[in-house]
Subunit: 219 residues, 2 copies
Amino acid sequence: MQINIFADILKANTESARENRRLLAGKGLTALNLISSPGAGKTTLLEETIKRAGADISIGVIEGDVQTARDAERIGKLGVPVIQLNTQGACHLDAAMVAEALKELPLEKIQLLFIENVGNLICPAAFELGEDGKIVILSVPEGSDKVAKYPAIFEKAEVCILNKIDLLEYTDFNREKFYQDMNKINPEITVFEMSASTGEGMESWICWLKRKTQDSPKA
Amino acid sequence: MQINIFADILKANTESARENRRLLAGKGLTALNLISSPGAGKTTLLEETIKRAGADISIGVIEGDVQTARDAERIGKLGVPVIQLNTQGACHLDAAMVAEALKELPLEKIQLLFIENVGNLICPAAFELGEDGKIVILSVPEGSDKVAKYPAIFEKAEVCILNKIDLLEYTDFNREKFYQDMNKINPEITVFEMSASTGEGMESWICWLKRKTQDSPKA
């Protein structure tokens, strides 16, 4: 019974996601859905990405949070268009919420749209938003076992950012186990090891973003 | 519409939770629901708690995970009764799942039951399991802003464990902001700062657990 309800919700969501995708493709935008646990570093990653790539790529942001506008305030300070969505308790963004945010953004001026999902490694994996790709962020202090324990998002993501590698020596994160599990679940995934707060290892991610957006008619 | 569906699910869950509570109270058990993001250190906390308190309190564990039996295997090595629940995609435990696990546990022999929820800071807050109290674990690398961003669980919890304090000097966690936000949201909460992996600061938590279980007729 519960499963049927969930299937209906997912079906309606997939319809809305398709409309978002059509709208975004029509405007020549590339959209990326950022998914992680709370505190893995999504907003810091966005800030540092905007600082490094913002001169070459025109970026827009949708911020998803259960409550507060803190993340949108942080991003807004960097001078890029940003919309804050508050889910008021829901544990993931859905395509209908994103459709509302798209109405408020200057889509004509944006090449690359980041959608920062609610901090949750589970449900956001099930809800398509109309994005071109999912980026999962795992931070070193969370532990190397998380790939096997939360496989859905690692299976669906195009990129995994292994963040906070500056904390590697202070934790028991097992890099070899991480890659073994990842290779079983999604051998196609691209992994970028970095520390968004120190800036270490960010170049290849920025490079990847430029390649990803260069097909857009606005590039 | 979606809200009504959710309200019905919650209502059915509250009924089951009431039955679990009645069963547990009848057997003289104290049950604690452990809630945190993935990787905040719930299982390590449990391991270290069992090592320190297991001689004085008879402990049982229900492990909730989306997939894998890794956590139950870790706990099982310590010689306490443990049941692994796999939610197969669901982002939280519910009372009906816990009721199934209770059938398999030797309740007559257990004084203190830990229920380790699925790693998620959002939905587990909404689903009562029949527990006597909720323990929220926040780890330092997640950041001090998480209390304001995910208020529901911090509002409902009886105890907050601030874990991984050994990483305080390597992160930008703002302890003052953490206590300010906590004081606004839940001034009654008891906070224990610790590092379950180094053992630092665990004594007062173990003390609290002993007080909490001493009212039980089995104590």
